[in-house]
């Protein structure tokens, strides 16, 4: 009997380990031989722990599973109360275009044989037959843009590093996925770690870098454990070694280290303070050497681009947003999780059709797109197509493609205040608009909450200063949630003095 049960954090957080124990115990009791594979998550968080059982060569899904549901798995499967049918036939799975996440939830994350059998290493094999410049050109032609949030063309960054001359060059993977509503990096590292390793090895070939680092946040213990083991396995198999080797490093709970220059300082063992640019990290990065700093999803998208060609990848998407994007749907949501699709769906299609609205069954009031530094979108803007330029045109951003749904009980003034409070806690302190501005922002919003509407021009002015004068996106983008909340939900900001008291 072949069974799969995720070792992904989603499954573990809702009792996955207990279900795994129950499966093995029940199999032992009944004397049934079971092969239990711990896979990544299929991304349907509301169905976790999601157990799959093979029935005549097809994987059938059961979830959300509790230990009490386990014995029935060994009886008539069709009559199981948690039976969902073949996994691939579920609406959530059928609607997706899984390129980067093709293997996540399908294979055993730490089986190199399964990785290869499902198309893994084809990209690296092809890259090994190409010249450096050809690999860079292929990535440029694919239209891949940084999936960490900034959307900078990956191929151009690689070209700069490739053409720089230095005694050593580095590939640094930014896995400091600190934005609320984002978990794509975590799921990829937990569910298909070799894909990231392959992407980094290809980046090494393209740029002449010989050493790679993955900087993973300490809040991701499962991803850290799996990535460390995967690196060992890749080294034993000769995928990593003298030509290109890599190390897993762990962050220490500083949100700002998701900013690339702050991350580099942290990796060097310094305070995670932001560096002024120029010099660009591509020319003077880790230890002053040319360094590619890319997000997990950017690097993990490279193997499929090399394996299937730039044109194949570029065919998906709209405008200047090419390829696919793993949407991460979170917060007060009925059907939350990871949904990889081509750019171009409207926000409304994502929120109403895919996510099914709020779990409270109340109206969706606002959706924050792009993490803590992203704007709050009201229903009036739900016709916005999901793309970098399209969201920028509505004073928002797609960031790392996280979406947080809020129902009509949300207090947008409180959310605006939280954005400023978070910025104040996490500011690295290097530039004044962020360090001081965030503290003044909290105070000003408290004045508003106390009924002083005279504070509105002040918060607007402060946001302009932070936006224009901050060194990095932390201070520079905190105005997005604040101003979007104020602009789209003005009623929440007008409080009578009596009500406030």
């Amino acid at each position: 009997m072949k069974i799969w049960l995720p070792l992904d954090s989603f499954a573990l957080a809702v009792g996955g380990e207990e279900v795994a124990g129950a499966i093995l115990a029940e199999a032992g009791k009944r004397g049934v031989a079971v092969s239990l594979t711990r896979n990544g998550s299929r991304g349907m968080a509301w169905l976790e722990p999601l157990v799959e059982v093979e029935v005549s060569g097809v994987r059938h899904a059961f979830g959300p599973m509790q230990p009490a549901d386990v014995p029935a798995l060994f009886d008539d499967l069709a009559a199981h109360p948690k039976a969902l049918g073949p996994t691939e036939d579920l609406d959530w799975m059928k609607g997706q275009t899984r390129l980067t996440f093709a293997r996540v939830g399908v294979t055993d994350p730490l089986s190199l044989a399964e990785y290869r059998a499902h198309g893994g290493l084809a990209g690296l094999d092809r890259a090994l037959t190409m010249q450096k410049a050809q690999i860079v050109q292929e990535v440029t032609d694919s239209g891949l843009r940084g999936r960490g949030g900034a959307g900078f063309p990956t191929g151009i960054k690689w070209k700069t590093v490739s053409e720089a001359s230095a005694d050593r060059k580095y590939i640094v993977c930014n896995a400091d996925e600190g934005d609320s509503a984002t978990f794509a990096d975590r799921m990829l590292m937990e569910g298909d770690p070799f894909c990231l390793i392959e992407g980094m090895a290809i980046a090494g070939l393209a740029t002449g870098a010989t050493k790679g680092f993955v900087y993973i946040r300490s809040e991701y213990p499962v991803a850290i454990r799996i990535m460390r083991r995967a690196v060992e396995i890749a080294r034993e198999a000769g995928i990593l070694g003298a030509a290109f080797d890599m190390e897993i490093r762990v962050g220490a709970g500083a949100y700002v280290c998701g900013e690339e220059t702050s991350l580099l300082n942290s990796l060097e063992g310094k305070r995670g303070v932001v560096r002024a640019k120029p010099p660009l990290p591509a020319l003077e990065g880790f230890m002053g050497r040319p360094t590619v700093v890319n997000n997990v999803i950017s690097l993990a998208s490279v193997p499929v681009i090399l394996a299937k060609g730039a044109a194949y990848y570029k065919d998906f998407g709209l405008g200047r947003s090419r390829g696919t994007i793993p949407l991460q749907i979170a917060g007060n949501v009925k059907y939350g999780g990871l949904y990889e699709t081509a750019f171009g769906l409207t926000l409304g299609e994502i929120v109403d059709k895919i996510a099914g609205g709020c779990f409270t069954d109340r109206p969706v009031k606002a959706v924050q797109v792009g993490g803590p530094l992203g704007a709050y979108f009201p229903r009036a803007l739900f016709d916005t197509p999901f793309g970098y330029e399209e969201f920028a045109a509505k004073d928002g951003l797609i960031g790392h493609a996280g979406l947080t749904l809020f129902d009509d009980s949300a207090d947008m003034l409180a959310m605006a205040r939280f954005a400023m409070e978070f910025c104040a806690i996490e500011s690295c302190g290097k530039c004044t608009p962020c360090r001081i501005g965030a503290v003044r922002g909290v105070e000003t919003l408290d004045r508003l909450a106390a009924g002083d509407t005279g504070a509105i021009p002040l918060i607007t002015d402060l946001c302009n200063t932070m936006k224009a004068g901050s060194l990095c996106a932390l201070g520079g983008f905190t105005p997005y949630p604040v101003m979007s909340a104020l602009t789209h939900f003005p009623d929440d900001f007008v409080r009578t003095k009596e009500a406030a008291e």
């Binding site: 954090s9 989603f10 957080a13 809702v14 968080a45 509301w46 976790e48 996925e177 600190g178 934005d179 609320s180 509503a181 984002t182 978990f183 990096d185 300490s218 809040e219 991701y220 213990p221 190390e247 490093r249 762990v250 962050g251 220490a252 709970g253 500083a254 949100y255 942290s266 990796l267 060097e268 063992g269 310094k270 305070r271 995670g272 303070v273 880790f286 230890m287 991460q328 749907i329 979170a330 917060g331 007060n332 949501v333 939350g336 999780g337 990871l338 779990f359 924050q368 993490g371 803590p372 996280g402 947080t404 749904l405 809020f406 129902d407 959310m415 939280f418 978070f422 996490e426 690295c428």
Partner: protein
Amino acid sequence: MLDSHAQTDRIAEILEAHLGLEGPLLPILHAIQEAFGHVPDTAIPQIAAALTLSKAEVHGVISFYHDFREKPAGRHVLKLCRAEACQAAFGDSVADRAKQKLGIDWHETTPDGAVTLEPVFCLGLCACGPAAMVGDRLVGMLTPKKVEKLIDEVLK
């Protein structure tokens, strides 16, 4: 608790094991914290000497990061997510109940030294929030009732 000689020896071992790394300070601090539960003040001169840094530089790094403790925490550390997605899923009510049950506020430890309560900004469990972490154990879909149960389990 180790005596001071044992501490010095253990830190020397940790330093020795990490000195070959490029940018070894964070891995060193993580290893020391794992060994002692915090980064003792008395370790700073030893680290500084090994890395040819000033004591102020080492202190500056320790104090920059939320993870590094200058004093030991309680026997269990309960981290509750306070980020937006968990707030949208009513994480505030979970946090309020936890504080009430433990009788402490953020960053405090219960008088018996059993539990330290800390905020965390995102555990990557945003589609099954509100989320928490106890040690390395992850917990999702919390409610005020479930967090009480979780605390009872931890205290057992």
